[in-house]
Symmetry: none
Subunit: 175 residues, 2 copies
DNA sequence: GCAAATTAATGATTTATTCAAG
DNA sequence: CTTGAATAAATCATTAATTTGC
């Protein structure tokens, strides 16, 4: 971090090891994490309140724990596993350039990771307003042209990158 | 992985949807899906014929597409979002199949379908079956006690070895 | 070896969605 | 159309790992 903007250095983990009398955040033991992980691996993702209480009760054997800790653990673990998965898959490298251009300048240290899509709410809002939702609603004619444009199938080559398409913001404003 | 069976390879999504010289089904590009998803996310559910044509027209920039594809996409996406939502409540599962590294054998259809949980036999299976998934759905009270159990913080001594805890197998069977 | 300084993990909150009841 | 329930995404905040200079 460059300049510590606010700086109040929070201090010391004072209590030192033993009796953390402070009500800081939950710090799970290895055994607790092990059990939670195994439950997750077994398929449990969003335990019910009752399950949470049972789990918490059992895990309290290994150390201090509350129900909410279990709840949060599953929420976070689920989200982060998914995040990890998605990152590995790397859909398309189309938005890599977006990431690399200007995102970096903002923050040098913190979160880069997420976010490929930086949609501004305002933009979307505008777009939404452009929908003629109250349009006469032409009796749902559901049979669109059944044409097969196959004839022109070679119009785009694989070599030509699609990367120079307008950003999604623009894409959404056409309606 | 198990793509060999059926014999026809599904094209990668980012391929531009172009290769198909056959008039098979529409294969949306990543960009197309992205825009459609964003439109959906912005509130569009059942676009009018006119909207469909505009959308289709714009999306044709990214690859072959027809109006009916847009129509079907919205219909399917709407239905599947609802389905997913309902399934989460019931099963609390989403991509467990992905997590499973072996024995996956997702026989029939792919994800989103029926999540045939093919967990490996034995203990884990039992454990899973013990989950009271059909539990009364106790209004999900998400506000757990905000208490700080600090008072009773010494209920367990650190000196006591945790090693004599029951094996993980037992730990998982308590639910 | 040791702490201060820095970075990476992850616990805890907040915000934005979704569907569907009213 | 509004709102309630539920949750996932995004974010904030604190702790552990680690790096670094001595």
């Amino acid at each position: 971090m460059e300049e510590g903007m606010s700086g109040f250095v929070v201090k010391p983990r004072g209590g030192g090891g033993g009796g953390a009398t402070k009500c800081g955040r939950w710090n799970p033991t290895a055994e607790q994490v092990k059990v939670l992980t195994e439950l997750f691996r077994s398929g449990l993702r969003t335990p019910s309140t009752d399950q949470i209480q049972k789990i918490s009760s059992q895990l309290s054997f290994y150390g201090k724990i509350e129900s909410k800790n279990v709840f949060y653990w599953f929420q976070n673990h689920k989200a982060r596993e998914r995040q990890k998965r998605r990152r590995i898959v790397v859909e398309d490298d189309e938005n890599v350039d977006i990431l690399r251009q200007d995102k970096v300048s903002v923050s040098s240290t913190k979160h880069f990771g997420e976010v490929n899509q930086v949609f501004e709410p305002g933009r979307v809002m505008e777009t939404l307003q452009l929908f003629p939702l109250n349009e006469p609603e032409s009796e749902k004619l559901r049979f669109f042209t059944n044409e097969c444009k196959e004839n022109a199938s070679i119009t785009y080559a694989f070599g030509t990158r699609m990367d120079d398409h307008p950003p999604l913001d623009l894409c959404l404003s056409f309606l």
